[in-house]
């Protein structure tokens, strides 16, 4: 397909469409597979580093700062603290969401790294740093972070800034 004009006058061809269709079989790897199976079963699993003892979630099979394999699974709580967030006014998702919506970095109780997820069941104007939130599981779970539909306010007092300031 081209968007050039009539021939003979040598009107040049400006461009064409070049379709690419490549089929892959994605392999999640060991650590991610355990994490994703956990989500299917309604559990959030992190992994503890044998050297620095920090718990990484999602686990990726290695401690990124120590450079050693991580094997020990740690089941995390479903409640955590919003460390920071943004409010989104345009849709990026295949699922049309009601605008605006909030997405936040959340440090789950027992974890040392943050998950990024949706905050719902609260007006966006009330979302705040330090807010305590709880995971709400999707009706249908699978090997995806979408097994957690969103996080909602946990109804606890806000966490003090000092408790999460290292997770920004």
């Amino acid at each position: 397909m081209s968007d050039g004009g009539a021939d003979d006058k040598i009107e040049i061809v400006k461009g064409f469409i070049a379709p690419v269709r490549l089929r892959y079989t994605v392999n999640a790897g060991r650590a991610s597979s355990r994490f994703l199976r956990g989500l299917t079963e309604g559990r959030i699993l992190g992994q503890r580093c044998p050297v620095c003892h920090k718990v990484n979630v999602p686990p990726r099979g290695a401690c990124p700062t120590c450079g050693v394999p991580t094997e020990e699974d740690v089941q995390l709580g479903e409640v955590g603290t919003v460390t920071t967030f943004c409010i989104i006014n345009i849709n990026f998702d295949a699922k049309a969401r009601e605008l605006p919506y909030a997405a936040a970095s959340i440090v789950l109780d027992g974890a040392d790294t943050t998950l990024f997820h949706l905050i719902q069941e609260v007006p966006v104007a009330k979302v705040r740093m330090g807010m305590r939130v709880r995971a709400v599981w999707a009706a249908e779970r699978g090997p995806s972070l979408e097994s957690i539909d969103h996080f909602k306010p946990a109804g606890e007092p806000d966490a003090p800034y000092d408790s999460y300031k290292d997770h920004l």
């Binding site: 994605v26 990726r60 290695a62 120590c66 450079g67």
Partner: protein
């Protein structure tokens, strides 16, 4: 200009180059890097410079090198770079960096999972996007055009191809000439397998290399050159870029004992061997080369690693590692290593 600093390979490690791995990129890299560092007894935090080679198109995911960094333990922050190429070019970058003189060690790694897609489709994306990629011409076909051109010169026969394949693949019953063609004149035994894997090399300079390793593989010369992309613009039966790189790397100043050539297709070994002017006394690809295992983006670095290992193991005094990139040997790198400094 003052004499160049001496740089050596002090350890090499690789994962198994299996037809398919269950590990992800970071897990693969972890295995290779950990083994290479253990062999050198070099703690992660003492690495001066780190550089890797990989291609997003193997897994179809952008930024694949970012996740692999998890396997390095990049904390405190490290001096690090990445080439979207075979790891052999990452090794070249590390060698250049070590010449500066301010750091003494470098880690080089490469990873690739060729099994996740269909390479005959994926590698079409490497071609000129206006004239070649829209034709869908696959890598086996391009190699076959090169093989035919070589046959036409009379410098090689299909029997010669089969002999290369028999030696590299070590298959029972050899490589029969009555086997069907995949794309004529290439048969299955003339084409590379599909493999996943990772490899890692530790480099060190001067006294640091001597301290880390009993018998370092000193890099005597390393150079790489590229040719025109269009197949019609070059003589496919000669690897002029290999010849140029070989001269720059000093291949001919003394005899080579063992050469590891990155020749994914059997006829390419003949072309590269001729371009390097290697005599018949040179042992070629004792590892089996890329015809035995061809994890893309890793296979070139692995050739250098295998050639270095021959020195580390005291099997040879002077070896050569070669890497290639692109269709029909478009780009080539030559690395000459010696036992004594």
């Amino acid at each position: 200009m003052s004499a160049r600093r001496e740089v050596a390979i002090v350890s090499y490690a690789q994962t198994s180059f299996a037809p398919h791995t269950k590990l992800n990129d970071a897990e693969l890299v972890m295995e290779a890097v950990t083994a290479a560092l253990e062999r050198a007894q070099l703690p992660r935090k003492q690495i001066g410079f780190c550089v890797s080679g990989s291609s997003d198109y193997l897994t179809g995911m952008p930024f694949s090198f970012v996740g692999a960094l998890d396997a390095v333990g990049a904390w405190p922050p490290i001096q690090e770079s990445h080439v979207e190429m075979d790891g052999a070019w990452a090794l070249y970058e590390a060698w250049v960096r070590l010449l500066h003189g301010d750091i003494d060690t470098a880690l080089v790694y490469a990873f690739g999972r060729s099994s996740l897609g269909d390479l005959q489709d994926v590698l079409v994306a490497q071609l000129d996007p206006y004239y070649l990629a829209p034709l869908g011409v696959d890598p086996n076909s391009l190699a076959a055009l090169q093989a035919r051109a070589l046959l036409d010169t009379g410098r090689a026969s299909e029997r010669d191809f089969a002999e290369v394949a028999t030696r590299c693949k070590r298959t029972a019953g050899g490589a029969p000439l009555d086997a069907p063609y995949v794309v004529s004149p290439l048969r299955a035994h003339d084409c590379p397998p599909v493999n996943d894997g990772a490899a890692a090399i530790v480099l060190a300079a001067g006294d640091r290399a001597r301290a880390l390793c009993k018998r370092p593989a000193w890099i005597r010369g390393i150079d790489h050159r590229i040719e025109a992309h269009s197949l019609g613009a070059r003589d496919l039966t000669r690897s002029s870029s290999t010849t140029l790189a070989a001269v720059e790397a000093g291949v001919h100043t003394a005899p080579i004992e063992i050469a590891e050539l990155h020749a994914p297709y059997s006829h390419q070994e003949l072309i590269v061997k001729e371009a390097l002017q290697l005599g018949d006394g040179v042992r070629i690809n004792p590892s089996g080369g890329a015809l035995a295992a061809n994890p893309l983006m890793v296979a070139g670095l692995a050739r250098i690693g295998e050639a270095a290992q021959q020195i580390l193991d005291d099997n040879a005094r002077r070896t050569l590692g070669h890497a290639t990139s692109g269709p029909c040997l478009q780009q080539n790198l030559v690395c000459v290593m010696e036992a004594s400094s």
